[in-house]
Amino acid sequence: MTFTNMLNITSSPALSVLIWIVLLLLALYFARRPFHRAVMSFSKIIQNALRFTAASVLSAEKRLVKRNREVMMAAGLENAERIVEREFDRISAAVTRDLEGYPNVHRQLSELITKLDEDYNSSADVPPSLPNWMPIIESIAKIKHTGDSMVANMLAEINRSLTEQNRKAIEDYRNSTAARHSILSKMMPFWRKVEKFLDRIDRSIISIKKRSKTVDRYMDEYEKIRSGSDKAARALSTSAMTQFAIAGLVLLIAIGGAIINFNLIALPMSEMVGGASYIGSFKTSDVAGLVIILVELTMGLFLMESLRITRLFPIIGAMDDKMRHRMIIVTFTLLAILAGVESALAFMRDRIAHDMEALRQTLAGAEQIALNPSVIPTVGQMVMGFILPFALAFVAIPLEMFVASSRTVLGALAAWLLRMLAFLLRLLGNVGFYAGRFIINVYDLAIFPTIWLEGVILGSRAKKAGISEAERPDDSPLVEEAVDAYEGTLKIKEPQE
């Protein structure tokens, strides 16, 4: 049936259109209930499916966050353990150093004290006293003589002896005092030695006390991490972000160094392995240069591992000390040899570049100038070639930091992405549901004359049946039923999330 035929069902096209509109409205009115149900079901399917998906994503995000936290805590604990271990090592070294010499110090102190004691005793000796018969002579000397010359002579002799004895006694006393003073003055260096020994012991004890305080502080931090507190988690997370940024920056610098290193050795490598062969789409000489740099990096990693500065390869750290020392010597020797090779290659590069420049000048027809190049660039390149491998060896430290912190940072990033995905899914689910409701409302708007008529008819019926206006439903029971069903679904789903 064409559109023209449709307009010709009556003699008046306007009447035909009106009839068709009425028929259409009636058809839509009767299809209203199934249409509402279909649209609501569809929107519910979308909404519930997306909510389920969002719930799954959120669940995954929670698991990931939990795992991240565990990883971060484990890394934090390991780090704290390492620091505490290092502090204990230092204390152990200090105690060993000080206590190792303690018997010697003790012996020296004992000897000094004995010596001081002896000196003290020596200095305490009493001065020689006058002979016991001196008071007797003194009494005799005081006897008054009567003028007898014999008595006078005897008394004079006694007086002379007495005076002589007195002078000698004073002299002996002075000598004795001088000897004691001499002993006392010799004691001074011993006192100073004793003081020095005691100072040294005091310093050692203060150092150990300081270190023990540091250990206490680290142990507190360790305990906080072990307890798994949120504060510790936040601190570790911030620390990981900072480490990630710093290590990334240092690695970028190291990559720059590696590129310079590569440019130093790529050209001379073509002299060794040929400049016309390829591995894949890369020149063999370039690959060889790259391999040398990578071997240097590997040696650097092993050296740092052997020195227990990094812990990327636990098997190396777990080796016994003798083996580890051997490994340190081997890796350092290899690194030094490679540095020497690079230095030689840098020298060769300079020569080749010089030769090429001379050839270019010849080809350009320029007058051949006797080139007497400065040795400074050559030496500079050689020094750089020698130093860069050692500098690259230290990449192991930021690399370890980067690897360790990237677990936390990438985990946090993945968790954030999952949260965003869950939010988007929920948003889309809600948009789906409200789009369904919007379609229903638009449908009802299109057929509003029939709904109005339904209201009028239902109102008159209600009047006849005696139902008050307040008790009458505002809308078709169909829509309410659908909404109730949806909200019921929500109530079921919410606890699941």
Partner: protein, 215 residues
């Protein structure tokens, strides 16, 4: 021990598998027109050769041949070289090559005829034998072919993967009177090359020699 050898063999196979067998070297065959009217231009050819010596890398091939009465001959190859893999040796080879060409340019005598087709056929043969990855035939000529009586050059060129570049195509007296002759001559050579599957190019400004290897 057996395990070690097995791993070593697998490693060697992997390395051998990774080695690229496709040739990446460049082969250049330069034809120099020594006919009477054009022989004076050879000093320009020397500059072009010096440029080529400057840009060619170790492992590349370079040959210089003259175009005379009968150019389809190895005897017309003035100098040829495949540069050593080592840059220092290659530099010495370049110096020797330059001297060789210099000697030729000083002692060259003009030929009465110009067998360009024979020279191209010889170039194709030489570069195919050299096994270069990229093949260039440079024709330093006015492109005016004049064959001696009895010489037949009516066979088509087989030029897939070849770049044929005409250099310093000078205008003859007749070209100035009727430029169509010049155009027709160039178009004729372009047609021959492209029909043979090669790429055609022309560089008259010797300041733009870097366009030679732009393809």
């Amino acid at each position: 021990m057996k395990k070690f050898f097995a791993i070593a063999i697998v490693f060697c196979i992997l390395i051998a598998g990774c080695t690229d067998t496709k040739s990446r070297s460049t082969g250049v065959y330069m034809l120099l027109d020594t006919s009477g009217t054009y022989a004076v231009e050879l000093t320009k050819a020397q500059k072009i050769l010096n440029y080529l010596l400057g840009v060619l890398a170790p492992g590349d091939t370079l040959a210089v041949a003259r175009i005379d009465t009968g150019s389809f001959s190895e005897k017309d190859i003035v100098a040829k070289i495949t540069f050593d893999d080592r840059p220092s040796v290659a530099n010495n080879q370049k110096r020797a090559f330059m001297n060789q060409v210099d000697t030729f340019v000083r002692s060259v005598k003009g030929s009465p005829y110009t067998d360009i087709s024979g020279g191209i056929l010889q170039a194709i043969e030489y570069l195919n034998e050299a096994g270069s990855g990229k093949k260039y035939i440079l024709i330093f000529s006015d492109l005016k072919e004049e064959l001696a009586k009895g010489y037949k050059r009516d066979l088509p060129f087989q030029l897939p993967d070849f770049n044929v570049i005409a250099l310093n195509v000078t205008k003859l007296r007749g070209d100035n009177i009727d430029p169509k002759e010049y155009m027709a001559r160039v178009e004729d050579w372009r047609g021959k090359v492209e029909k043979g599957g090669g790429d055609w190019g022309m560089i008259n400004d010797l300041e733009r020699l870097d366009n030679i290897f732009s393809n």
